[in-house]
Amino acid sequence: MSDLRGLYQEMIIDHSKRPRNFRALADATRKAEGYNPLCGDRITLYLKMEGERIADIGFQGAGCAISTASASLLTEALKGKSRAEAEKLFTEFHALVTGKTDDGAELGKLKVFSGVSEFPIRVKCATLAWHTLKNALEGGETATTE
């Protein structure tokens, strides 16, 4: 049970039930789709870039609590950040959810996903939005966590 509470922390449940920035951006400059064929999770991520800066960000889609909350918290964390900052956060986030570090000093709220490292098969859920972000930034089309 303690593992479960570690995974499904209140903030995660809250963001999965009331995802923030859950909308398509009409003026998006970049868009990417992410898909996890294993569980059917799908998200579309919209970015409005101003130069190297993420001026606005939104997402839509359907998924499990972990992937939805992860996408929601990602949008909150990245609004206003530069591309380089976003990439650095992804590296830290990835290390956190795969149990390679529990430091994640710069992750802020995103540290709430530390419990994922106890559930290796859920890592894909937690990182789907991030892989999709990477594709959007690189101008790719569809991300998959398979």
Partner: protein, 415 residues
């Protein structure tokens, strides 16, 4: 006064049956294992594990090619398993039993041999909306190659096949009808006898995907009169890596071979090769001999239990589980066919199946979550995925209760 259940419970001694399955005696995350993922693969009784072990300990050798004692023993063991499979399916002859890797390979074999030989541009292959990907994709590959079209008969809201619609879709262009005997998602038992009859009346052969039927229903291919019947060893309490394709002898005789290689030939020269007789024509290369032997042991085991008795007991479990799950607020069962095997797919309002599966796992309850290799069916019911509990004759009502308690925990954690 005795209830009916108690009377039936006595005829089926589940506690004794469970002792035959060593894997069931363990804890997972500190809770007793409740294995409800039998539609994915069933557990193996000790008799099967020992049959494979004994084969490797004593008899291991290649088959059909040595003159030595071990090769003879191995050949005998493998061919005995074929006869057991023949009897299990009620087939007329053992040469109608082709050993394959599983249901998937069986369907591919028919699509690539019978299908390729008989399908041309504008022809049609007829399936249903509740097929497993393994009874969809091989036909799509065939259709793509030949310029043929895949036709799909619909299912109704209960998850029952719309039989009239299927029959209406049978035309002079239909080259084969391929249907699941039992749906792995909905549990629906299809009226296979009626389907085969309607197909034959129009001169169309029928293939039945029996992956989910063979473990749970008595099957007799001569009564069904189907042209092909496929099942997987690992779902009928046998090993992985072995399965059966039954085909009527006259159909198989007329078909070109599947793969080329050793064992499937009578003679080879660079000018001309003549193929071996049935069933070997379709069995190129060294097969999974030990798994074949294990499958034989599994079929013996199932026969000793009695598949009819097992089916009765599983029906009782299904009734009980359905009643208990229906009482959980916000839970919707997908697949409420009147003729149903012990498979329950469901969704929980506002909670993704993946999360349901994770919480249940922490409670020791193993279920499957996802699209169950039936994405078109998920689309039909408007869900991205479901949670599925699938039962075997070694499951108990207490395990159903554990599932229900687990689902309460799901609501507590995620509700």
């Amino acid at each position: 006064m005795e209830t009916e259940t108690e009377t039936q419970g006595r005829t089926f001694d589940v506690a004794r049956v469970r002792k035959d399955f060593p894997v069931l005696e363990q804890t997972v995350h500190g809770k007793p294992l409740v294995y409800l993922d039998n539609a994915a693969t069933s557990q193996k009784p000790l008799a099967v594990i020992q049959a494979e072990e004994q084969f490797y300990l004593r008899d291991n050798s290649n088959i059909h090619r040595g003159v030595h004692e071990l090769s003879e023993r191995a050949t005998r063991a493998y061919e005995t398993a074929r006869i057991k499979a023949q009897e299990f399916l009620g087939a007329k002859e053992s040469r109608e039993i082709i050993f394959v890797r599983g249901t998937t390979e069986a369907v591919n074999l028919v699509a690539q041999t019978y299908g390729r030989a008989h399908t041309g541009p504008g022809d049609e292959i007829l399936i249903t909306a509740m097929e497993h990907h393994s009874n969809i994709v091989p036909w799509q590959i065939l259709c793509e190659e030949k310029g043929a079209r895949l036709k799909v008969a619909p299912v109704n809201d209960r998850g029952e096949l719309e039989l009239e619609e299927l029959i209406r879709l049978m035309s002079g262009k239909t080259r084969i009808v391929a249907v699941a005997h039992v749906s792995n998602v909905l549990g629906t038992i299809n009226p296979v006898r009626a389907i085969v009859e309607a197909a034959h009346a129009r001169g169309i052969p029928a293939l039945v995907d029996g992956a989910q039927a063979a473990p749970h229903l008595p099957v007799n291919v001569r009564e069904l009169d189907c042209d092909f019947y496929a099942f997987s060893g690992h779902k009928v309490y046998g090993p992985t890596g072995i399965g059966v394709l039954y085909g009527k002898a006259e159909r198989l005789e007329a078909m070109p071979p599947y793969q080329g290689g050793g064992d499937m030939i009578a003679s080879v020269s660079f000018e001309k090769t003549t193929y071996n007789t049935l069933p070997y024509k379709f069995e190129a290369g060294t097969p999974n001999i030990a798994a074949g032997v294990g499958l034989g042991a599994a079929l013996d085991y199932v026969n000793a239990i009695g598949i009819g008795k097992a089916a009765e007991y599983e029906a009782e479990l299904l009734d009980y589980a359905t009643g208990e799950l229906e009482r959980i607020p916000g839970l919707r069962i997908i697949g409420t066919a009147r003729e149903k095997a012990a498979v329950i797919s469901f969704e929980m309002e506002g909670i993704h199946p993946h999360d349901v599966g994770t919480v249940l796992d922490q409670e020791g309850v193993a279920v499957r979550t996802g699209h169950h290799c039936a994405q078109p069916l998920m689309d039909r019911f408007g869900v991205p995925a479901t949670t599925r509990a699938s039962f075997a004759f070694y499951n108990t009502k207490e395990e159903v209760d554990a599932l229900v308690r687990g689902l309460m925990k799901v609501k507590e954690v995620l509700g």
